[in-house]
Amino acid sequence: MNDSGARAAVPFRTSLMSRVMLGVLALLTAGGMIVALAALAYGKQAARQSYDRLLVGAAQDIAESTKIVNGAPVVDLPVSAFSLLSLALDDRISYAVREADGTLLTGYDTAPITRDGGDLTLFDDKLHEEAARFATVARRFAERDYSGTVYFTVGHTLRARNVMAIELTKTALMGVGVAGLILMISAFFVIRSTMRPLQHMASDLLKRDPYDLTPMPTQGPAEVTVAIAAMNQFMRRLDRQVSAMRNLISDAAHQLRTPVAAIRAHAELVAEQGVSGEQQQGLERLLKRTRSLGSLLDQMLSRAMVIHRTDNAPPEPVDLRDIALHVIELEDHMVLSPEAVVELVIDGDEVMVFADEISLREAVKNMLTNALKHGSSPIRVGVTRKGTLAEIWVADAGVGPAPEVLAQVGSRFERFAASKGASAGLGLSIVNAVAEAFQGSMHIGQVEGGFRVTMTFPAMGGDNAQ
């Protein structure tokens, strides 16, 4: 539970993409809010203007239809004025026609009176406790029997205005919303394409062989190049460290070989001269240990060399038969176990692979040495081609190591080698390293009539080779 939570949290926390998207979203939200406020203000303004015009129109309409009859203003209230006002569908209407002294001629006496006396006044007031907007138009009469100003006040409540303001705001916001969505989507794609070099770098690093400390190609945008350059520098330092370590190991092995050989020679000399029973036994043990120490050093050297070769020597076409032949011709087995029979199993067709000859020789040498030491005669060294695969193998007539040992051999070569004091593990580890270095694999297992260690590589193919 905890594990999965942590796993889920990590990519979110570390994903640059989600961070940037979150930022963009926050930016858009803030922008959207500002636009919403602006839209609302704009909507209110627009609604106010258009409905104020209605009010003024209605007031002027009423003013127009007023005449002086028998010395008094008479309003022939026009329906058109109220049709105008009815455009604000659900709003209450108030109107009043007043003389200059405030006398109500017609209309509602609840309609407010303007404070200032311009020709056209627009003002906010209350209508039956509800906020309302009023317009007052003044009309001056100068007739024989009537002279004075008459004020025409028209007002209505704000329902229609508010509805219009909200409608306008909604429409504006809809547009902003769509634009925001489009921005979000395009931001996503832009950011993703910007992030791509980083992803490339990451995947390149992931795909890299763990031993590959060569510099990465510095391509892409400046920011990424900086990171790659830094990484390359780091890898250079790491590489230096690693090669120093390797050199130390091979130097140490090399330096130790001579003293160990001297110790062995001395021990053999003493043993030959003859000593008492108990001493003889101890001497035998010393001899045995010294020999295996010598061969261990040999193998360490050969491993160091193999690693050096696979890292540095470019692979080239190699005929596996040459390798098998070369290993047998060295006649190392004569030294190790002179009585063993070693056969070469090859045929006329060449079996080409793309690898390093010296590394392969070293590996096959190790395979043969293992067979000689631990297996039983006769021992066969062979090369076979199976379709697209090329195999080079060493088989003996023995039963091979016990299954549990075999399992260990399959997984931890070095540890096995170190703990046993015998060098078989290290030998196989070299074989494994070589096989993997050239896109191949190592197989260990029982076959008919014995035990076989095989290196399999992708064959270069008859059509390719020729």
């Binding site: 309003v75 109220f82 609840t110």
Partner: protein, 352 residues
């Protein structure tokens, strides 16, 4: 159902108005064998016996509500509602008036309370305003004539025909044409006012009324009875719904083909009224399919195909419930209009 109606009929009682002189009649309705918890006071300009079946069905469906039905004249009801709005008189639970322009004025003066329901929002825009006023009925303003006394070829199908009739040099219709007295009847005023807006025929009509010594009198039922008895031959702008509910077989009904005004009686729930919920229930009931079919049965909702000579849709002029009707209530406008009217009807009193 029939049984329960019997009960209601037993409970139905006409009460002599004692305290409020302006109110014409009063009746109590309650469901049989039920103890009503609330009493809804409905003030209406509609004759009690016209609305009776609807109110009865309502109390049967809602036995917890009793209805006190007060019948008022439209002008008196307007005055009363204004007073109630100002807090000077007891408010009704609901006001249901044919003086639609007066109801608009009341709503405009913030005397109504808002209510929304599925039924009210389903009403067309011309039949509601601010969710405070609703047009319940659809009743035509018709011309009626006495079929025994008016020759069939004389029956005026349009206002122009009526004008021609009135312009005849020697007319049997002299003093025999009746219409509403617009000063006494809010509805009569509204019809006349709408006529004056609708067409230029109105001036000619007034002139014709003047020429034939037309009678301006009060109240639908009186006019209808007069036509039936032969006191009048023709009556103009009579509520079609009353004619049918009166069921006089010697009365012919004409929906004028040039245009026919349609009235929607307006229903309002006063802002300070008692039992607003019951009033809203009654509103929803009247707008419900059952209420509407009851209204149709009482001829309060004009059914398109009921007429022998169907009225073209383009000739229908519904009086929309909208604030333009405020113009009708304007003091100056009304004074001028009434003066014009008086000059037409008073001429013969003084000159002849």
């Amino acid at each position: 159902m029939r049984n329960s109606w019997l009960w209601v009929a037993l409970k139905f009682a006409l009460l002599v108005p004692a305290t409020v002189s302006a109110q014409e009649k009063m009746a109590q309705f309650s469901a049989p064998e039920a103890q009503a918890e609330v009493t809804l006071v409905l003030r209406s300009t509609t004759d009690i016996d016209v609305l009776q079946p609807i109110i009865e069905a309502f109390v049967v469906q809602n036995p917890e509500i009793a209805v006190t039905y007060e019948q008022w004249g439209s002008n008196a009801l307007f005055e009363n509602s204004l007073a109630a709005c100002a807090g000077d008189a007891g408010s009704a639970s609901a006001v249901f008036s044919s003086g639609v322009h007066q109801m608009i004025d009341l709503v405009n003066r913030a005397c109504a309370s808002a209510y929304r329901s599925e039924q009210t929002t389903a009403l067309p825009a011309a039949r509601r305003w601010r969710d405070e006023l609703w047009g319940i009925t659809k009743e035509p303003a018709v011309i009626i004539y006495n079929t025994d006394l008016v020759p069939a070829e004389d029956a005026p199908k349009t206002r122009f025909a009526l004008l021609d009739l009135m312009r005849r040099p020697t007319s049997i219709y002299r003093g025999k044409i009746a219409t509403y007295n617009i000063e006494a009847s809010g509805l009569g005023y509204l019809f006349a006012f709408m006529d004056s807006l609708e067409a230029s025929t109105f001036g000619a009509l007034l002139e014709g009324f003047s020429r034939t010594d037309a009678v301006a009198t009060c109240c639908s039922s009186e006019i209808i009875k007069g036509v039936s008895k032969g006191d009048y031959l023709i009556a103009y702008n009579v509520l079609g719904s009353y004619v049918d509910s009166a069921t006089f077989d010697n009365i012919g009904v004409i929906h004028p083909q040039d245009y026919t005004l349609f009235l929607s009686r307006a229903y309002m729930i006063p802002k300070d009224g008692p039992e607003k919920q019951a009033a809203a229930l009654l509103l929803d009931f009247m707008l419900s399919p059952r209420g509407q079919s009851l209204l149709k049965a009482r001829n309060l909702f004009y059914a398109e195909n009921s007429d022998a000579s169907p009225l073209p849709k383009s000739a229908e002029r519904g009086i929309a419930i909208e604030p333009t009707l405020l113009v009708a209530g304007d003091k100056h406008r009304r004074e001028q209009f009434v003066n014009l009217w008086r000059s037409a009807f008073a001429q013969h009193d003084t000159a002849r």
